[in-house]
Symmetry: none
Subunit: 228 residues, 4 copies
DNA sequence: GATGAATGAGTTTTCATTCAT
DNA sequence: GATGAATGAAAACTCATTCAT
C-alpha cells in the first residue's frame, strides 16, 4: 500500500515538475485521465480543507465537490489521511521548489535574498488559504492530525534551509556579509522574519501589506540595530 | 502535563479570577466554588487537548477527568468550542502577561530584550504541549476549528507587540538603538526570531537547544549583517 | 472495556441463574430497568439474527426493533460482536442448564438418559431459530465470524459432557451398562445421536418427528447391532 | 489449502465435467476452456472462503486470485451467492461420491461400514478448512447466509443416507445385524456418530485423534450398551 | 442545581454490481 | 466477449448535546 502510494506520488510529482517538453506524450490517455482526476480530487479537497479545516470536511463532501462517487475517491486515496498527506506533500514541494528557483535565478548573494523575499510574498499571496491550512493543521505536529506527514515535509524544509545557508556562507566568504551568526541560523532567521511580515499581512492586509521592497525586511538583518 | 504545571496554572488563574485589590472577599462561597470548578474543568481539558488534540477528545472524557457529570460541564461551557476558546484565551493571556512581566522587570532596554528572550524560553519549556496545541489547532485561525477564537487572542498579542515596540522606540530615543526600522516591526522581528529558535528546539531539542545566552538571538538584530 | 463487559455479563448471568428468591429486591429500580432494557435488546437481536444471520442484520436494525436509539445499543454492547457473544453465551448456558437439570432430576441412570433426551427435544422445539443460528454461525468456529466465542461455550459444553459421562460411568459401575466404550465417548455418542434425530426433525418435521419415546434413540445404543 | 488438495480437486472436477463415457469429445475447445475457467474461479473462491469465511472475502479478491477480471467472474456466476452455492454443491457431491465409493468397494456389510468410517476420516483430514466453512456458513441453512443452498445438498445427502440404509437393511436380511432400528435411522446414527468423533478431533486433534480402528466407533453401535 | 441515560445525525470505509470501452 | 473503472447503498461506530429525574 505504501509502495503504491509512493508511486502515485512520484507519478504526480514528476508530472508537476515536468517541463513542457514532449514527454507528456509518454502518458497514455488513460494515464492522463487518471492524473487529471486525481488532481480534481486534490483540488476539491484543498478548497474544502482550506475553508473548514481537516476535521470538518467529510470524504463525501470532497467526493461531491470533485463530482466523483465516494468509491472513486477511495480508489485514488486509501483513506482520508492519505489524501491529506498527498495534498500537503504536493503543495509543500511545489512551494519549496518555487522558492529554490527564486534563489537560483540570481548570481549575487544579496540579490538571491531579495529574490527569495519577493517570491515568498508571491507564493503566499497566491496560496493563502492553503498556507492557513498548513499552519493550522500540519505544523508543529508529531502528535498532530496526521502524524508522519511531517517527516517528509520537514526534510524538504531542512533541505531548503541548507541551500539558503549556503547563500549566507558564500556571502561571508566573499566578504559581502559579516560573520555575525551561523549561516544556518541566518537562514532560519530570514525565513522567520519574512514569515512574520506575512503573518501581519494575513491578519491585516491593508494595515500591513507585505513590503514591495525586500530591503524593508532585509535591512533588519543588514543594518546593525545596536549603536556601536 | 506535570504537577508543577498544574500548580502554575492554578496560581495564575486564581489571580485571574481575583481581579485587582482585595475584591476576593466580594465573592461568595458559592461563587468561589463555581470558579474553582470551572478551573478544574479547564485543567482537565487542557491536559487532554494537549495530549490528543481538540478533535480527539470528547466532552465525556473531559467531564470524566474533571470528575464532573457531563451535564455540569455543559452548565459551565455552552459547547465544546466555547470551552476550547475559554481555555486558549486564558492561556494566551497568561503567557502574554509573563512575557510582559519579563520586559517590565528591567530598566535598561537591552536588558528588557534579554529578559524577554529568556522568559520566552522558559514559558515554552514549561508548556510545550499546550503550545503545540495552540500551533496545531488555534493559530492562523478565523476559518479554523474554532472560528472567532482569534479576535481576542490577536488583540492581546497586538497589545504585547505594542509594549515591546515601545522598548525599541525608547531605545532609539536614547540612542542605544539605530533607527533601522519601525519599532513595531522590530518587535515583530524579535518575536519571530525567537519563535524560529524555539521551533528548531521543538523539532530537535538536542541538536538545536534554545540558547542560554540571549545575545545569540539578539546579535542577529544587533550586529549588521551587511558589510558597509 | 473488557472488565466492564465481564461485569455486565456476570450481572446478567447471575440474574439469569438467580432463583426466584428475594434477592431480586436487592436490585434498585435503576438496575432492574437496565437489565430489562438489555434483555429487550438481546431479544430483538435474537429474532433478527435467527431470521437473517449475523452478517445480514445491522446494528441499526437491532436498535430499531428493540426501539432504542443506536447509541443506546452501543452503551450496552461495545460492538456487534460483543452483542452476539453475549447473546450466544446466555443462550448456551441456559440450554446447558436445562439439560443438566433434566439429568439431575432423576436418580436412575437409564431414567437420566431418557430425561435428557426428552428435555433436549423440548429445548429444540422451543428454540429452533436460535439453534439454527448457533449451528450456522457459531459452531465449528475458530476462524469464524466471532472468534473467541467458542472458548467459553466449548468449556460449558465440555462440562456438560463430563457430567453426562459420569452417568455412564456410574451405570457401568452399577452393572446396568456394559463397558463398551469410554464414558466420555458414550456421552458424545448420545449427544450426537440425539442431534441427528433433531436434525432430521428440523429438516422435515412431519416426516421425521422427534421421537416421543426416548428409547427409540436409546435402543440404538442399548441393544447391540451386531449379532453375536 | 495445499497443493495436493488443489490437484485432488481438479482431478475430481474434471471428472465431474466430463460425465460418463467419452463424451469429452463432444465439448468444443471453447466449451472446455469455459469449464476450466469456471473451475479456476471456484478453486480461488474455495481457498479464500476456507481461509476467511464467506462474508470476509470480496468478489474482487476472488477475481484477483483466479486472475480474471471482475466482470468475467460475473459472466460465470450471476452473483456472490450463486458462486457460493455452486462451490458448495460441487464439494458436497464430491465428498458424497467419495463416501459412496468407499461403501461400494467392499462386499461385506461390516466392511462397508468400516470402509465408510475410514474414508470419512480421510475426507475430513484432507478438507478441514472447507468443512469448517460448510459447518460455519452453510449447514442447517435454508434461512442461512445463502438460502436455497440446502435443497440440492440435502437431496444428495438424503441419497447417500438411502444407500447406507441399504447396507444396514441388507445386513439385517443376512442376519449379520440385529433389527434394532429402522435402517435409515441407523444410517443417520452412524453418520452422526462419526461426525461426533470428527468434531472432537477438529477441536482437539491431539487429545481426540480420529480413531485408526473403525471399530472404536462401530462398537458403540455393535455391542449393546444395556446389560440384558 | 446536578446528573448521566438517551439520543441520532454524521463519519469513515467497504464492496457487490454495472456498463462503456 | 472480456475488462475494470466507476458507482453508491449500506454498514459499524462516535459523540456533542439534551432533558427527565
Amino acid at each position: 500500500m505504501n509502495k503504491m502510494n509512493r508511486e502515485n506520488r512520484r507519478r504526480y510529482l514528476s508530472k508537476e515538475a515536468r517541463g513542457p517538453g514532449m514527454e507528456i506524450k509518454k502518458l497514455s490517455r488513460r494515464e492522463r485521465d487518471k492524473l487529471r482526476q486525481r488532481q480534481e480530487m486534490l483540488d476539491a479537497a484543498l478548497d474544502l480543507f482550506s475553508e473548514k479545516g481537516y476535521h470538518n470536511v467529510s470524504m463525501h463532501e470532497i467526493a461531491g465537490k470533485a463530482e466523483f462517487a465516494i468509491g472513486t475517491l477511495y480508489k485514488f486515496f486509501k483513506n482520508k489521511e492519505d489524501l491529506y498527506k498527498a495534498l500537503m506533500l504536493g503543495l509543500c514541494e511545489k512551494f519549496q521548489s518555487e522558492l529554490t528557483g527564486a534563489i537560483n535565478e540570481k548570481q549575487d548573494e544579496v540579490e538571491k535574498l531579495r529574490s527569495y523575499i519577493r517570491a515568498k510574498g508571491e507564493v503566499f499571496r497566491a496560496n493563502i488559504s492553503v498556507i492557513r491550512l498548513y499552519f493550522s493543521e500540519a505544523h508543529a505536529s508529531s502528535f498532530n492530525v496526521v502524524s508522519g506527514l511531517d517527516f517528509e515535509i520537514q526534510k524538504s524544509r531542512r533541505e531548503f534551509f541548507e541551500s539558503m545557508a549556503k547563500v549566507f556562507a558564500s556571502g561571508v566568504e566573499k566578504k559581502i556579509f559579516n560573520n555575525i551568526a551561523d549561516p544556518f541560523l541566518l537562514a532560519i532567521a530570514l525565513d522567520s522574519l519574512s514569515n512574520a511580515f506575512l503573518d501581519l499581512w494575513v491578519e491585516a492586509p491593508d494595515k500591513y501589506p507585505y513590503p514591495e521592497d525586500p530591503d524593508t525586511i532585509l535591512n533588519i538583518l543588514f543594518k546593525g540595530l545596536l549603536v556601536k
